[in-house]
Symmetry: C2
């Protein structure tokens, strides 16, 4: 751990920088970094280091760190891996705060020891490490471009954090051609020390940054990331690209619960939980970044489509449904507002169809009405190049309308047509106006904006602290301890039951009887019908051994069943050691669900929910969330599954007791969060009854960590 | 109907053309059409018509059709709707073959009569009508651009058929900026006479056309379209864009079967059945058109990814899974082939990762290996702009490799980077090379190509004629006739049973007993257990009336039940008229499915399949096909549902009798096809047993058309 962590602001605004491995030959990384620092007009002190000495790009090359007078905030290291540790030592002498280790050849090729050694040394000496295996950092605050990425950077309000060097450099380059302004670019590489979560923590209050874009390949400390992401997305939009959604790329999931769905489904669900926008492609991510970085949060849900063509309007409506954009539909207000600008054969329903012959002034009038109208919160303006469309004049109108209103009401444009239209779109886009030839690209921006809007809204709803559930952690830990002592990694049925009891879950009543009299006593206590099951470490498959009796309706049947079970089990396994016979409530039919909690490799503790049986196994209809989880989040994970309508009641059945499911999810999440030794709990089935009639956790399977 | 249809080739290659409503003023459609005809260097005779006379663009304006010497093949009519019919009359005098009615104001605004009158008149006089409400036609064969669309057209091999005028003109224009060559553009508008199917019929053998793109808003004669599309897609790819996939756009479905899923699901399923590619957006459609029009059909399934970055390679693999592109994975052959060009830290698994420092000559070597290898059938070449990437030189390499091999092996490129890369991509694309900055766009082209490949492959499998099923249509028609006589639109249970019997479906044995002795006789004949149900026109809800008895195990129980049913029903409704009591086999449990057939507004007869109960009602897990249907198509519709694994057997159950489901689907499809009066049949549930154990059509609901 870091004893005396440096202030992270010096990573973004260093007063001095050393480039260890600076070079005079143009195609070396050690040259390119110096060149980029120079290009970025960095105002601080620059110390290129190379034992050969000399000059590079007008800077004196120092032979070693020791030659420098005074301290250095940032050291970029671009020398072979085997010399890196020695260089790090010299950095400590100069009170370096941050080490940017460009060099590769560490943990990414299995060289974990060396990497660990460097990080430990750094921490002891008050330094933190970015990398290794990265291309560097750009920060508009300094400004400094201490990377071997592109030299030409547009300063702006998008922060880019990337795990991949190759994609990172290329995206970094592409921001320039897309005219996207950057506040910072940080390559995290092997994340030996500083990771995405550390950077986000800083960027939350970074006033230069309005939108954060992350390219992620794998996650190390997912729980930390989740907690920071939740805090970040209520301040500014976060967009993530993660490759590996295909089977070919996805990891084989470890436990049963995990195997229900690939790791990618977990990632997607948890990002949504955190309010993070997941982009499928780099193109989509960059489009969203640019749009969100230039657009205010809408004041409400109602979008309007203004078009000169019915077909393109319908396509936009399709896209709105796909991307979750709500179309305003108060037909009376629409009629009243737009009847003057829409001709007889046009449409006053949303999409507002100005029809083919619409002139630019018709567009202008319609747009101005939409801009003025308080109930309309965002505008999608579309058009086709019809016979009379004034191609030459339209860029000016768009520019005028957009520039005037961009800070008050979100707007997006899409026009379809020939070379003239395409040229205008390209020019307007370069000016920063969100205009596209493809309707879906345009509307996807609104989709991103409204995802963010809804995330903010949902955070505003103050909810009771859902941590109030009572769980007797001590009891659970004691049970677990005993199991571990026996070198087992799974809990026996009665142990699992005891754990469930300690979580105060709604379970079928059950007792273990040691003799026939106890059996009758308990059965009477529970009330009929009851079920009976053998309890023995020697018998795993109870039914096969004849150790189970169901639907026993009275004392006589219990007496008979007890004797039959004993007889059967002794015949099944003559040397069997019998602990007793479990007498349990025979639980009535209900809707079978599964609730699981486990320790995920990437995200740490997570919970899972789905409808039982076929729904989970065949339809893969499950949802995931990272723990801790609020009631609202638990509700959203229940609503998310496709079979959710079954819980609302179909075919004349009543609504199910969804609150009790939420309670179960929260209790399980508390167990997995607080009991480190438990790796996996699955309640299957959790039988759900009608509203206010509760649930029954019929069976629980609990696994322990291997350590 | 057309008495003497003109030869359609004169629509595409007219020898002479008249423009009725030609104008001298530049912003009139009647001027633009003449201008476009001139621009297109049309070699035939051009007759502008306007009562004012004069000249336009060097052509003499004729005062009327009658002034023209000789015949006219094509007449473009661009005068107000109210004068159109008179103009059509003058066309008949000049033996016009095709009327291109640009004019709007007909059926699209409810003026159906006038439109019908024109078409009838045209047919009687040996003419056919394109439109009305269209922007015209372009044909590279003539060449002629008789439209008010863009003047500059690139001649090529893509045919565009569009229903929307606005989107059509705009897409027509966009082909130029995307450098897509066109063989023909046809605006079909109101489709009063010529529709998509007629045009496709011609384009199947149109050697100038390699790819067909259609923009559809609504379908009139879907059955005709389906049959032509099936023939077309085995000759050339067909891409369709159809807006209205959202609820807001979709029509409320009429019958129960229809309400299971929106009309859009039916459209999508049937397009897939026909081998038609459905593009979501115009952009996607145009990208696919351009790619497919320049690319050979691959020789096989195996695609390879060559990359210089792991991350971008994984993204491409994700995209391959999304778009159904198979990645070659014979690791031994990959190792043997590529080990010389991949460095130690690269990957020899597909994606082949040449790693960041890869030079252009590494790329060239790897590509040449992939090109030579017979087992590799298509190539996805990717890259990120890394530090050493030779941006200036890469366009030349791509051009060289692509030009040399484009006709033998499909290739697609995607590069990510800064302005230099973007510029090269734009230039190379303009040259016709399929290169994209976005990996997903690139791979989507391969997805389209392989969709087409699989469609061709599946057509090669010769299958037995599945029309061999025996159905006694006469019996069915007689039953239906009797029902209609009674002014009913639904069949009673025993009538539906009789229809099902005539289709030779596997049904539970059942008889109607008129008295208690018959009841016992039939029960003995069937074998126990049996079920009994009241048969009476006066009792709809049999259970409510106490008219149902289940699980009767012997003669005594049948006797008791008979008396109880009679008693209950008479008490329920004292004046009840009882036809008898149905005695039926009590059918064993199995997997419940639903098979339906109905007459769809757009497509005519269609069939539906899904798993019963919740799967259909809540999960909307159903599939549709147009009728007639082959066994292979029936199989594909069964496989398509998400719950299909249930039919393969889960949790230790055996595979279900899928062949019997196929048989049921085909029988129902035959009924809906041959019995015009039936509008809707639903077998629900069709209980399916294990393989070779058949199915039971437990209940059938049959509705008749109102006509």
């Amino acid at each position: 751990m870091v004893n005396n962590k440096p202030n992270i602001k010096y990573l973004f605004k260093p007063r001095s920088v050393a480039i260890i491995g600076a070079s005079q030959s143009k195609n070396k990384i050690g040259y390119q970094i110096v060149e980029n620092i120079k290009c970025s007009k960095y105002p601080g002190k620059v110390y290129p280091i190379n034992p050969k000495g000399g000059k590079v790009l007008g800077f004196k090359i120092y032979k070693s760190m020791r030659e420098i007078n005074g301290n250095v905030d940032l050291a970029c290291i671009a020398i072979p891996a085997k010399y890196t540790f020695e260089a790090v030592k010299t950095c400590a002498e100069k009170n370096v705060k941050f080490l940017i280790i460009i060099t590769s050849g560490f943990s990414e090729i299995g060289n974990i020891e060396e990497e660990r050694k460097i990080v430990n040394y750094a921490h002891i000496h008050g330094m933190q490490v970015l990398g290794p295996n990265i291309f560097g950092i750009y920060s508009s605050m300094a400004p400094i471009n201490a990377s071997f990425g592109p030299s030409e950077v547009i300063s702006g309000n998008v922060a880019l954090i990337t795990q991949s060097g190759a994609i990172g450099v290329a995206m970094f380059g592409k921001t320039k051609s897309e005219n996207i302004g950057l506040s910072t670019v940080i390559s995290v590489g092997n994340k030996s020390d500083i990771d995405e979560a550390d950077l986000l923590e800083y960027l939350i209050l970074h006033k230069e940054t309005k939108v954060i874009l992350m390219y992620i390949e794998g996650i190390k400390h997912g729980d930390k990331l989740v907690s920071v992401l939740k805090k970040t997305t209520v301040k500014k939009p976060v967009i993530v690209i993660k490759s590996g959604s295909s089977k070919r790329g996805a990891l084989a999931a470890a436990s049963h619960t995990g195997s229900l769905a690939g790791a990618d489904e977990i990632f997607s669900d948890i990002m949504e939980q955190c309010g993070v926008l997941r982009a499928e492609s780099i193109e989509e991510a960059l489009i969203w970044c640019k749009f969100l970085s230039n657009t205010p949060t809408p004041r409400g849900e109602n979008a309007i489509i203004i078009t000169n063509g019915g077909g393109i309007g319908v396509m936009a409506a399709d896209a709105c449904e796909k991307y979750g954009v709500n179309l305003y539909d108060d037909i009376n207000i629409l009629k009243k507002s737009f009847s003057n600008v829409v001709p007889e054969f046009g449409s006053l329903k949303n999409p507002i169809d100005l029809t083919g012959p619409a002139t630019l002034s018709d567009y202008e009038n319609a747009l101005n009405i939409a801009i003025k109208k308080r109930d309309i919160h965002s505008i999608i303006c579309l058009g086709c190049e019809t016979a009379g469309f004034e191609v030459e004049k339209f860029p000016k109108l768009i520019d005028k309308i957009y520039s005037k209103n961009k800070s008050t009401k979100p707007m997006i444009f899409s026009f379809l047509g020939g070379i003239g239209i395409e040229k205008s779109i390209s020019d307007l886009r370069h000016q920063g106006i969100p205009i596209f030839s493809d309707v879906y690209s345009a509307v996807s921006c609104f989709g991103a904006m409204y995802f963010n809007y809804h995330n903010l809204k949902s955070q505003e709803i103050i909810e009771k602290n859902s941590d109030e559930v009572n769980i007797d952690i001590k009891v659970i830990n004691d049970i677990v301890k005993n199991v571990l002592k026996e070198n087992r990694q799974f809990l026996l049925s009665h142990e699992a039951s005891a754990v469930m009891k300690a979580t105060e879950m709604q379970m079928p009543q059950s007792y273990i009887s040691r003799n026939i009299n106890e059996a009758v006593k308990y059965a009477n206590k529970i009330g009929y019908p009851v079920v009976m099951k053998i309890v023995s470490k020697d018998i795993i498959h109870k039914s096969d051994a004849g150790g189970v009796a169901l639907d026993l309706e009275n004392e006589n049947e219990v007496l008979d069943a007890y004797q039959a079970i004993m007889h059967n089990c002794r015949r099944y396994k003559p040397d069997v050691k019998i602990t007793g016979v479990e007498i349990a409530e025979m639980i009535p039919k209900g809707t079978e669900t599964i609730v699981g909690a486990r320790r995920d490799k990437s995200f740490g503790p997570i919970v899972m929910f789905g409808l039982g049986g076929i729904y989970v196994e065949v339809m893969k209809d499950v949802s995931f969330r990272a723990v801790p989880i609020t009631k609202r989040e638990a509700m959203s994970m229940i609503k998310e599954i496709k079979s959710y309508p079954l819980l609302l009641g179909v075919r004349g059945e009543g609504r199910k007791d969804i609150n009790s499911i939420i309670d179960t999810i929260i209790r399980l999440s508390k167990v997995i969060l607080e009991c480190d030794s438990i790796s996996d709990i699955e309640v299957n089935p959790l039988v759900v009854y009608e509203e206010n009639k509760g649930v029954k956790a019929v069976d629980a399977r609990i696994l322990l960590s291997k350590e």
